[in-house]
Every structure is written in C-alpha cells, then in structure tokens.
Symmetry: C2
Subunit: 328 residues, 2 copies
C-alpha cells in the first residue's frame, strides 16, 4: 500500500483545506494511505470517522511559517515539514506533499531525502495551460543561477517526467530563449543548446509565447527566468480579468452579457486555475515531492496528492538515474 | 520645424499602413514634417495631394527584409533604414521611426547615430498595460547579456524617459527579480540592486506580476528576460482570447453574451493593443529612435511618430548625459 506523507500545517488557510483534500483523494483512490503530519488536536476533529483507518496522524509540535527563513528548516526538527520529510527518508512513506513554506520543503527534500545519483540540482516544474492542454516548464524557482549543464539536466528530467508521469509519448522539448533562431540566447543558453541537442525531439529555442500555444511539451529555463515567466503569466491573466470586471460594472448591457458569459468564464477559470493541476513537483530528489500552492483549496490538495501517487507509481527516478549515467 | 525620418519600406504589410500613419499624424499635429525614405514610385501614389508639401520623399533602392541578418545592415548603404538613419546622423532629421527589421534599426542607430556620452549600451523600452495605465519596461531585447552597471544605466535612462517623455512625476523604479525581498535575485541583479539604490524612488525588487498591477512606473531587466516577459504576456493574452472564443462557439447562450460583451472586449483590446502606444523607443542613442512593430497599422505608426516627436521635443538626452556624468 502506497503511503503519502502530508505536511498538514503550513498552508495559508490552516489545516481544513488540507484534510478536506486528503479525504477527496481517499474517496477517489482506494490504493493509498495518507499520513498527516501536524497537531493531532487540530487534525483529529476534521477527519470523518469512516476515513480514520486510512489516515494516520503523526504528531508534530512546530510549524515553519511563510515568514520563516528556509535556511532554518533544517534545524526545526519538530516541524511538520521536517517530520514528514523524515518519514519519506526512512522509507515509512513513499512521497511528500506540502502546501507550506516552499523553500523549506525544497531544501529539506534536497538535503534530507537527497538527490538522485547524477543530478546536480533538483528543479521545480510547473504545468502552464494552453488552449488544448498543458506545457511543463522547469525550473521555475529552485535554482536562480544555472550553468549549461544544469539546464541540460532539467531537459533530461523534464522529458522523463512528461513521459512517465504525464503520459506524453515522445514529448517535444524546447529551450526558453529570446527568439527561435539557434543564434538567439544568452551565453549560458547558447552553451546549453548544444548539450540539449542530444535529447530526442529537442525542438531548439522557443519563445515565451510558445509556452501557451501548445507547440512544445517541455520548456527548459533557469529558476530566475522561470519565476518571472510564471508571475508574468499570473499578472497578465489577473489584469485581463480586472479590466473585464471594471468595464462590466460601467455598463448595464454588458452585465446582461456577463451573466450569459458566466459559463464561458467558468471554463476559462478551469483551464488557468492551478487547482486543476495540483502542485509543482520537485524533480531530481529520491522520492516524489509535490509543492502545492500555499492557498491550495481541497481540490488543489487532492490533485497534488494524485500527482504524488502517479510519480510514486512510475519509474521516473530510475529512468532519470539511468539517463544521467549514460550522459556522464 | 521638426523633421522625422521614417523608414517607409520595412513593414510586414508594405508601405501603405506606414504612409497612412504619417498622414494621420500630420492631420493631428501641424508642427512637423515627415521624410519618407523608400521607393518613390511606390510611395508617391499613396500620398494625397494636400499632404505633399509636408512629406519629403528620400529615394532608396534597397530594403532590409525580416529574413536578413542585422549584421548586414551596416553594409547595405542603399537601404531605406540606412538612409533614414543617415538623415538623422547628418542633422537633416531629428528622429527616426521604422516598422522594419528591428535588429537592423538598433545596430544602425547605435553605430551610426551613436550612443549618448556615458551610455555603455542603449536599451529598448516598451510600455506594458496595467488596469489604470502603463509600466515602462527596459531592456526588452537589445542586450541579452548584461552586467550590473548596464542594468543600473537602464534604471537611470528609464526614469528620465518616464519623467521627460511620459510626463510621470517622480516615477517609481523597480528591478525585475524572482521575489520582492532584497535577498532575491541572481548574481547580476543582486549586484545591480546596490547600484540602483541611489536612484530616487527605487522600490527594490519587483515580480513579473508587478509589471501589470500598476505598483511601479519603470521596471529594469536585461534583454533576455525582458523579451521572455514580453512574449509570455502576449502568449497569455492570446491564449485567454482563444479559450474564450473556443467556448463561445460551443454555446448559443454565450454567443448572445458575447455580442453584448463586445463593447467590453473593445475596451480590453484598446488597453492591451500595442497600436495604442506606437513603438518601442531605443533609449541611449543621440537622437530619438522608435522601433515600431512590423505589423503596425496606420494608428500604430501615427502613435510611433508622436512618440518620436515627444522625445525630440524633450530634454531627455541631455538629462541622461548629465545624470551619467554625475555617476561616473
């Protein structure tokens, strides 16, 4: 039976959406057990009686809050994040999910669970919406300064994640750059381009817009660029929403229109809503680690847990190790 | 009388939208003359008789097309771009506007017109829409690899452009980074942060989303990151539009809604449409240079010409030279 360790304490909205998400997941999938790590007194009343045999509670007395520094995470051995990571490290759980301090989860996972042999730096990946599907982008925040070798590893790991976890056959991989021509790029990406060319179905340089038009399955960038891309996408979507709302308020005719359009906007929300995808996997550590959004609702948590299960059920990490062995 | 040199040949849709834009601008503003550089035989029939005294045509026999390399631009001395730039260099025109090959315009402007004393590298700036206005972002493509000193100069030039050309009093300047905290950033931006702190109203690090929420007037980044940010924004806006359209087609109710919403979408388009802002100024060269979009329609060209006029009427370049003198 698969066991998923869940940091139940760190989310922006307390334990309730975390526990609700776990229950949603348990209802839908009968082949796993959840280990909630956190304050028993808070957690127990949230769990309906009939789910108590499929949820273990692992007591922890400390919580790493969003205001704490990630570097403290290693010393805070009583924290829910630390204890949940330790369960995975000791083999008592197969994967880790947290909606808490993402920096803390990343450094705990990298340093306590450890990197897959051959991986220099694990990367955070995220799924961005396109008209017909999604694009996997990595790194989006774990590694701010990267060299060509790091970017090449991200490409290798991203391709394997797309194949093994997302089920995309022979995915197309691109390198995020300032133009499609091979001559485009900064010093690091130009060097990375040459290394990435050995990846099957490498399409070369892609532009920011290609992330959203479905022309590629995996996009490689460093964590600095990836974070800016991610926040830009959120900012634009948010601003378009606000401009629409602002103009709606001014016009009665458009209010009628808006009511009729509600269904369309619901579908739009569904496509751009991170809750649909769950969380962001940290790829390159020895066990599946899913970093969920701090604001995750129950549905987002459920999907984050399913991501962890899918990754744990796959041979992703063996494939990554094998592929990097051939490289070196 | 102000004279604006216009490369009439390089646009994606031929000369017609360029000439139409010039005529729109001449109708609205009586204190300038346009010098169209291009093929007289093509241009003359497009100019109504009553505007012929305010439009000079300067013959050129060559056009740098979008497929040509920017490095060839310096050798193609008969091209419309080269000849228009030479008019500015010789003082026969006060500013340059082109919807042609942007790389060619940039290198011709930098190498033939020359940099303002103290400027290491000119930067391309662009206006991004917010709910209530715009944000000036630079560099968005001229300089792919930048050091801290370059980024600091972009901050100084951006602030002066915002004050002198956009008329923003005491603008807020931010450094694009992967988080707001001072500790965030890559090696180069962390170093640039310290230099930028001497700029009045420097707000520190800003995120991709801050470009679109109106919290800052000027955002500094290198041209690699700036290009990716720009293309990401275009891609997201485009994808949201497509998702809305796709869903509209599926539902009769929402077609009715869409008709009623048309007014709202028109306003939205107006806010996110580059045609509203004209083109992207190349800041740091000795005369105003405006790089218009290759797909510019007449309105976009008109606004690009007005940008050039505003810049030529301002003391921007003297201010940049003075400010950089103090710095060094």
């Amino acid at each position: 039976m698969l066991k998923i360790a869940i940091d139940a304490m760190g989310g922006d909205n307390g334990c309730a959406p975390i526990v609700d998400g776990v229950i949603l997941a348990l209802k839908q999938d009968r082949h796993f057990t959840a280990i909630l790590v956190g304050d028993k007194k808070e957690l127990l009343p949230l769990i309906p009686h009939k789910f108590q045999d499929r949820i273990e509670i692992h007591e922890s007395s400390d919580v790493i809050s969003m205001h704490d520094s990630a570097t403290d995470a290693l010393k805070r051995k009583e924290s829910s994040a630390y204890k949940a990571i330790e369960l995975v490290k000791k083999g008592e759980a197969h994967a880790y999910v947290s909606a808490g301090h993402s920096g803390a989860s990343m450094s705990l996972a990298t340093l306590r669970i450890g990197r897959i042999k051959g991986v220099s730096r694990p990367a955070i990946a995220t799924l961005m919406p396109t008209v017909n599907g999604t694009t996997l982008v990595l790194d989006v925040g774990a590694n701010v300064d990267c060299d060509a070798k790091n970017l090449n590893e991200f490409g290798i790991m991203g391709r394997i994640y797309a194949e093994d976890v997302l089920g995309i056959e022979d995915p197309l991989t691109g390198l995020l750059s300032n133009g499609e021509e091979e001559s485009k790029g900064n010093e690091v990406t130009k060097e990375a381009f040459k290394l990435l060319e050995t990846i099957p179905n490498f399409v070369g340089n892609v532009e920011g817009s290609d992330i959203f038009n479905g022309s590629v399955d995996v996009v490689v960038c460093d964590g600095f660029v990836g974070n800016i891309m991610l926040k830009t996408a959120e900012g634009v979507a948010d601003t378009i929403g606000k401009i629409i709302k602002q103009n709606l308020r001014r016009s009665l005719v458009s209010i009628t229109g808006a009511v009729l359009m509600r269904k369309v906007f619901k579908k739009l929300k569904l496509k751009v809503d991170y809750a649909e995808y769950g969380g962001a996997p940290l790829i390159g550590v020895k066990a599946p680690v899913i970093i969920a959004h701090g604001k995750s609702n129950a549905k987002a948590m459920k999907n984050a847990i399913f991501q962890a299960i899918k990754a744990a059920d796959s041979n992703m990490n063996t494939h990554i190790e094998d592929k990097l062995k051939i490289k070196s």
